[in-house]
């Protein structure tokens, strides 16, 4: 009886281990489109130069502000944590727009309930064309089931950002 009890406990323990292992790596329920957008945002930080960041030493800190769903926020944090292992990139900090005091790049996923002053000096990236946010510099759109982005040159030129020609080549330009 004692032996059976031990076996039973062992089975329960191992079943638990099995379930734990199979879900250990599970990510929050986030669509691939949102994951791709997160990866694009991370790439934007590498192809655009912010003058105030360049002055920071030894390793600049980049403030990436998100107005997004909770799963995307978590995913972005994980993405940045993995990317941060490569020390040659700027250190990126992911912050919620609502709590931010400085934003270099701001991602807007849905219409903002109120204006945020931190956006005035920030490069704004809109989730889609449905987001009507003034001074949006980059807007995501889909074409042939692939994610693309549009850059508003007028907005960019009015800022003091330096955008890599490589990035401009990949973008659809809004003039």
């Amino acid at each position: 009886m004692k032996s059976l009890d031990f076996k039973y406990k062992k089975m329960v323990w191992l079943t638990g281990l099995l379930i734990f292992c199979s879900h250990l790596n599970a990510l929050p329920n986030l669509s691939k489109e949102q994951k791709l957008k997160s990866a694009y945002l991370l790439n934007f930080t590498r192809y655009i130069s912010w003058s105030d960041i360049a002055k920071n030493a030894p390793r600049p800190i980049f403030k990436l502000c998100l107005q997004s769903s909770s799963p995307m926020f978590s995913f972005m944090q994980e993405l940045v944590a993995v990317s941060d292992l490569k020390k040659h990139h700027p250190k990126v900090q992911v912050v919620a727009i609502e709590q931010a005091q400085l934003c270099h790049l701001s991602y807007i996923q849905s219409a903002l309930s109120r204006p945020f002053s931190v956006l005035s000096d920030s490069l704004i990236v809109a989730d889609s064309k449905n987001i009507k946010q003034p001074s949006t510099a980059i807007t995501f759109f889909t074409e042939g089931r692939k994610l693309r982005f549009e850059i508003d040159l007028q907005v960019l030129q009015s800022s003091d950002l330096i955008v890599s020609s490589e990035l401009l080549k990949l973008a659809r330009i809004k003039r």
Binding site: L18, C21, S22, N25, K169
Partner: protein, 357 residues
């Protein structure tokens, strides 16, 4: 200690746990995977949700194709010849353009299975295994063979190929594919012909393989976006001489296709192809007869192969699901200039079923 004991006594369960862990990690598209992606990598990915298409992450792809082609009537250069003209009858003057035996209709069917593997975003590998069956109707002046049909079938030449993505931008992609065709198809197909009693070596058109190591190449440019079209340049270069003392001609083609989107899952297309094929080099002496005119039929003369063709093609692609698609294409030559007399192509069709990432 208890943990160690449990793990060792339940090794299969632990291994299963680890497999599940690694499988999950693979299919979930982890932050690690996305963090390492460049803009080029991101541009190549579709937005299709992995939850709906776990298979999309698999590097394997599978394509089944059924090809059908029919040849009927004769051309000498671009001049049409009747069967009566090509069939030599006693009393007619025999020359090198008429024959005592002529094929009237040639039907070729091929089932091709291609297994693909994506090594990286740039490299893909493919293995293609064909099964070919052919049927040729003949008429002749030989007694008991006035009208007869010969069939042949078997596994054709196996093709191993690789594709390299040369360029990918927001609006275009280009690929270079190259491969090797291994001579696994038979060149010793035999059948009952009027040439002699019993079975004899069949003509070149009835053989299943080439008998030589051949090298297919293809360069493709695909424009994406408002105008969805592609242009491809292809060649099959054949090398050496096979065991029956001949080599099929090299072929070169330039093709283009313009696609129209009828709905998100249904596209139609129209296109054209210009093709040039060389005549056969060498000769299978088993096809000859001991007479003044050694070729009993046009398809036994290696000079009467190859030529130029311009074809029009149309069809549609139907995206059945995220993973499966079906494509149907028909083509008809608009212009043919053949080394002849040679049976001319009437039409061809291609049905393709694809499962891919």
């Amino acid at each position: 200690m208890i943990l160690t004991a449990s793990l060792s006594s339940n090794k299969p369960l632990v291994i299963l746990s680890l497999i599940l862990l690694s499988f999950d990690a693979y299919t979930q598209s982890t932050p690690t995977e996305f963090a390492e992606m460049s803009f080029e990598d991101l541009f190549a990915l579709s937005i299709d949700d992995e939850g709906n298409s776990k298979e999309k992450i698999t590097p394997w792809s599978f394509v089944y194709q059924f090809k059908l082609a029919e040849f009927e009537g004769y051309l000498d250069d671009d001049k049409s010849l009747s069967n009566d003209y090509v069939l030599w009858s006693p009393g007619d003057i025999r020359n090198d353009k008429n024959f005592p035996i002529i094929p009237t209709t040639i039907t070729q069917k091929a089932h091709l299975v291609t297994i693909g593997y994506q090594f990286s975003l740039q490299w893909q590998g493919h293995l293609t295994l064909p099964y070919i069956s052919q049927s040729t109707d003949h008429i002749s002046i030989v007694g008991n063979y006035n009208a007869f049909t010969i069939n042949s079938s078997g596994y054709g030449d196996t093709v191993l190929s690789t594709s390299y993505k040369l360029l990918e931008t927001q609006s275009s992609t280009s690929w270079l594919s190259m491969g090797i065709s291994l001579p696994t198809g038979s060149i010793d197909e035999k059948g009952d012909t009027p040439r002699a009693p019993g079975d004899q070596q069949l003509p070149y058109t009835m053989q299943i393989g080439s008998g030589t190591y051949d090298f297919p190449f293809q360069l493709t440019y695909q424009n994406i976006g408002k105008h969805d079209f592609n242009v491809s340049l292809a060649a099959t270069i054949r090398t050496g001489i096979n065991d029956r003392n001949y080599r099929l001609g090299n072929s070169y083609s330039l093709a283009s296709r313009y696609r129209f989107e009828l709905s998100p899952n249904l596209q139609t297309f129209i296109g054209g192809e210009a093709q040039y094929t060389q005549a056969i080099n060498g000769q299978d002496n088993a096809l000859l007869v001991p007479a003044a005119f050694i070729y009993p039929a046009s398809i036994t003369n290696p000079k009467y192969f190859g030529g130029k063709k311009i074809s029009l093609k149309t069809g549609f692609n139907w995206r059945l699901s995220e993973q499966y698609s079906l494509s149907i294409q028909v083509s008809k030559p608009l212009y043919q200039y053949l080394n002849g007399p040679q049976p001319k192509e009437k039409w061809r069709a291609n049905i393709q079923f694809i499962t891919s990432s």
